[in-house]
Amino acid sequence: MDNLFKNPEVLLWLVPLLPLLGSATNGLFGKRFNIASSGAIACGAVVGAFIIALSLFISRVSQGITIQSIGYNWMVVQEAGFAVSFRLYADQLSMLMTLIITGVGSLIHIYSVGYMGHDEGFARYFSYLNLFCFAMLMLVLGDSLVTLFLGWEGVGLCSYLLIGFWFKERKNSDAGKKAFIVNRIGDFGFMLGMFLIFWHFGTLSYMDDPFVPGGLYRIVAENSHGHMDLNLINWACVCLFIGACGKSAQIPLYVWLPDAMAGPTPVSALIHAATMVTAGVYMIARLNFIWVHAEAALQLVAIVGAATALFAGTIGLVQRDIKKVLAYSTVSQLGFMFMALGLGNYPVAVFHLFTHAFFKALLFLGAGSVIHSLEHTLGHGNPDSQDLFKMGGLKKKLPVTCMVMIVGSCGLAGIPLFSGFFSKDAILYTAFELGSAMGGGINLGYIVWAMGVAAAVCTAFYSFRLIGLCFFGKWRGADAAYAHAEESPRSMTLPLAILALAAIGAGYLWMPAAWLNYAPFSDYLAPVFAAGQEHLHHNHSVFALHAEHSADSIAREWVNMIISSVVAIGVSFFAFSIYSSPKGVAREQALASGKMGAPYRLLLNKYYIDELYQILFVRPIQILSDVAFVMIDVIFIDLILVNGSAMAVATGSRIARRVQTGVVRHYLYAFAAGAAILLALFLFVR
C-alpha cells in the first residue's frame, strides 16, 4: 500500500480525486457541519491536491519527466477500433495548469471561509467549489479529448450551479441557465470537432489508445508530411474553436460571462477569471500539434481574439458595477490570449493565462472584499454594494484591499515591471513581429497589433477608473455604509496578500529578450510545443517561433515595448486623475447626457447584443415551439390525421350500418343485384 501511493502513476489520481472526495463529504453530510469543519474539509482537499501536485512537479515534471497515470477503458467498440481510456497525463502544460488551479484554488477556498461564513448554504457552496476543482483538473489532466470534454462540461455544470447559487432570485438562476446553454452551443461545435478528428486520425487520445498506440501525438507526427486532409483539419479546428468561444467567452458566445457575475464573488475569481474560462486557451495550446496544420483556423482565432479584446474593452469603459468592469476585462484579456494563439505563439498565450490568473483573481477577491465590507450595512445582494458611482474614498477604510487592488490594476493595465506588462507586451510584440515578417503593408500581424494596442488603451483606462472611483475621491453612497465599512478578516486579506506578491512576481519568469535572456517559463514549456514547431520550421512558416533574436527584432521589441509602456502609463494616469478627483463621476455623467450621449449609451448597454440575441434566437425558438405545438401537434397530426382517420372510420361504418336494415327483402335485392353484376362481368368482360 505504501509503495502504491509513492507511485506517481497512482499519486496523480489523488490530485483530482481529493477535491471530489471533499465535494462528496460536504454534499452528503454538510448539514451536520459548521462553517469551520465544512471549510476545513474543502480547503484541506484542495490544499492537499496542491501539495501532491507540487511534489510531482518538483520530482518529475520539472525534470522533464511526464507522468501517465494508471487507468481503465472508459468506452470501447472493439471491432470499430474505437476506445477512450480514463487516464491522466501530466506533462509540462497540464502540470502548470494543475498548479494554477490548485494553487489559486486553495487561496480562494481559504478566502471563501471568511466570505461565505455567514451564508446558510456554505456546505453546498463548498461542495460545488470542490466539485469544480475536480472537473477542472480532469479537464487539464485527462489523456484524451473525451476526458477533457468530461471536465469541460463538468466545469460548466459547476459554473451553472454556482452562478445560480442564490437561486431564490430569478435573475441569478437565469444567469446560470444562460451560462450553461451558451456553453452547450459551444460544446455542440466541440463535439463536431471531436468527430472530425476521430474519423480522420482514428483516435481521440493524446498519448494512450489501446488500438492506436501513441495516440494523436504519434499519428499526427507520422502524417505531418503529406497524408493529411488540411481542409478537414481546418474545419475540425474551427469546430473546436466554437467550443472555446463558449467556454472562454469570445465573440459571439461571450454573453454569458458578464451575467455570470451573479454568483458569489470568490466564484467569479476562481471560475470566471482564473481557471475555467481559460479552458479554451488550454485546449488550443494542448492541441497545438494539430493546430499548426490549420492556418486558416488560426487566423480566425487571431481575428476573433483581437476583436473580442477590443470590443469587450470598450464596454468595460463605462460599466458602473465593479464586477461587470472586471468581467468585461476578463473577456478582453481572454481575447489577448486567443490573439497570441492565433498568431501561433502558444507559450506566450499560456504565459498571459498564467499572469492573468493571479492579477485577475486578486482583483476579483479585492472587489469581493469591498462588497463584503459594504454588504454589512447595505444588506446582502444590494446592488449599491457593487456600484462604483456610489463608492469613493474607501482607501482609508480598506487600506489592505486598496493596496492589493492597485497592484492588481497595475498588472492588468500592463504598467512596466508588473506581471501583466511582461505577458501582454509579449503578445503585442508577437503581432508586431509577425506583421514585419509577413511584409506587404497592412497584414494580419499589424491589424491584430493595432487592435491589441487599442484594447490595451481601454484596459489601462478602466483599470484605473475603477481604482479612482472605488478608493479615492469622496464617498458617494449611503453614509451608514461608509461608517461601518471595515477591512475584511485575516482569512480574506491573507490570500489577497499572497496573490498580490504572485501578481508582481509571475512576470519575471519570462523576461523580454531585449532586456535579458532569462525565460525559465518558456524553456519549461518548450517540450509541449516542440513537435508543432518542428513542423513549422521544416516548412519555413512565418508562424514558427524563434529562439534566437536578431538585432532587428530586438529593435522592434524595444519600439513595441516603448509604445505599450507609454500607452499604459499615460492612459492609466489620465484615468486615475479624472476619477480620483471628486468631480470624476459628475464629468462622466455630463458626458453621458451631453453630445457623447449616444455612443455612451451604446457602450453602457453593451451594444445591445443581448437584446439582439433575444430577438434573433430566443424569442423565435419559443414562439415557433409554441405555435408548432398547437398547429402541428395538436391540430394537424392529432386532430386531423389521427382523430380524423378514426372519425372517417366511424362515419364510414355509420353509413355502412344503414345497409344492414334487417329486412330480408333488402338483402334479397342486394343479392340479386350482385349476382346480376357478376353474371354480366363473366359474360361481357371475357
Binding site: G27, Y72, N73, W74, M75, V76, V77, Q78, E79, A80, F82, F86, V146, F149, L150, W152, E153, G154, L157, Y160, G164, F167, K168, E169, R170, S173, D174, K177, F180, I181, R184, I185, D187, F188, M191, L192, M194, F195, F198, W199, H200, I621, Q622, L624, S625, D626, A628, F629, I632, D633, I637, D638, L641, V642, A646
Partner: protein, 525 residues
Amino acid sequence: MEFLSAAIDVTNLRYHLSVVTFLPLVGALFLTFIHRKRERELKATAFFFSLITFVASLPILFEFQSGGGAGFSLVEEVAWIPAFNIKYIMGVDGISVFLVLLTTFLSPIVMLSSTSNVHHKVKEYFIAMLVLQTGLIGSFCALDLFLFYVFFELMLIPMYLLIGVWGSDEIERREAALKFFVYTLVGSLLMFLAVLYVAHEAGTFDIRLLPEACRNLSSTAQYVCFGAFMLSFAIKTPVFPFHTWLPQAHTEAPTGGSVVLAGVMLKLGTYGMLRFAIPFFPEPAVALSGAISVLAVIGIIYGSMMALAQDDLKKMIAYSSVAHMGFIVLGLFSFNLIAVQGALLQNINHGLSTGLLFLLVGVIYERRHTRIFAEFGGIAKVMPKFAVLFMIATLSSIGLPGTNGFVGEFLILLGTFGGMPNGDWTWTTGSTLAVFAASGVVLGAVYMLWGYQRVFFGEITVKENKNLRDVTPLEMSFALPVVVLIFFIGLNPTPLLTRTEPAVKATIENARASAAQRMEAVAHK
C-alpha cells in the same frame, strides 16, 4: 452472485428464461387469492415477486455467453402448435439481454413506488403490473415470431387498463387509453398480417432462421413487410409523426405506468427494429435508412421544441422521450457499429434516466396533485434531497459526461457522423444528419434546465409548497439504485458494450452484406 449461478448450476435449471418470464404471472395468480382489503399483503406480494424475478434474472448475465459471438444463449425449445410449425422458443443474445435485465430491475422499483401512490383497486393494479411484466420479458426473450406476437399483445391490455383505470383525469384518461390502444393495435395488426405472410413464405416462425429464410422473398414483398413491421415499431417507439399518443398516455398514466411505458415498453419498438425489421428485410432497411434517419432527426428537434412548449412537467418529459428515442432510431439506421452500439446502450440509459424522472414526478405529484409548472417554484428550498435527485436525472437526460446519457448520445452521434466507413473517411449524409441531431443536445439543455428552474428555483409562490415533505426513506430506496446505475454506466459502460458487440456486429454486417448482394443482383438484371 457466484453462489447464485452455482445454485442455478446445481438445480440444472434448463428453463431459466421461462422461469424469469413467468414468475410475475405466478405472482399475479397469487394475488387473486388475497382479499382485496388486505392492501399491505397485496403490495408486499407483488413487490416480493418482482424482486425474486429480478434476483432470478441476475444469473442470466453470467450464463450469457459474451465471448461466444453472436448466437443465442439459454435457448429453450418446445413444440407448441406443430400444425403450423409454431414453437415455444426462448433465448437471449447481446441485443436482448440488457433489456431483459432493465425490465426486471425496474419492476421492483415500480412496485415500491406504487405502494405509496396507488390507493384504489389496489389488487387489480398490481395484477395488471405483474402481467405486464411477463409480457415485457417474454417479448424480449421470444425467439418464435408467433410467440413474440402473443407476448407483444399480452402487454397491451394491462397497459390500457393502467392508463384507463388508474389514470389521473376522469375523462381524459379514457381518451388517452383508447388512443394508446387503437394506435398500437392498428400497428400490430398490420404487423400480424406480415408475420403470417412471412412465416408462410419462409415456412418457419423461428427468429433464428428467418433472416436467412426471408432472402427468398421478392423485393416487393420485402418492402411491404418491412413497412408493416416498421409501422408497428415506429408507433411503439414512437417515431415522428406517430408520436401523439405518447404525451397523452404519459400525462394520464399513473406513475408506475409511465415508468414502465417510458422505461421499457418504448424500447420494444427499437428492439423490434434491430431484431426483426432490419435482419429480415435488409434491402428496404438499407434503402430506406436515409428517410427513416431524417424522421428520427425531425423527431429529435421537433420533440425538443414540443418539450419547450409544455406547461406541464410530465408532458415535457414525455416529449423529451420523443427526442431521445429519435437518437436511438438514428443510431440504429446509421448501420455504423459505434452508433448501433450507442443506440442499444441508449435504450438502457433512457429507461433509467426517464424512468427516474417519471418516478420523481410521481413523488411531487403525490404531494401536490398537480404537475403544472406555474404551481411550483422554489421547491429546492423545502425539498433539497429531492432537488438533488431530480438534478441527477436531469443531467443524465441531457447527457452530461460522467452520466450514462452522455455515453449513449456520444456514441450515436460519433458513429452516425462517420457513416459507413470504407477506406478514407469522407463526409456523408450521415454526417449532415449527425450535425442536425447534435443540435438536439443544445435544445435538450434548454428545456430541461428551464423546466428545472421553474420547479425548483425562485421564491416559493404557492402556499401549499411551503411545507412539503422531502424525500421519504421509501422514495429514496427506489431512486438510489437508479442513480447508482446512472453513474456506473456513465463511467464504465464497457462491460455492457463488450457483451452487446458481437450480436450487434453480426446483425448489421449481415444486413449490409445481404442488402448489397440483393441490390447488386437487381442491378445485374
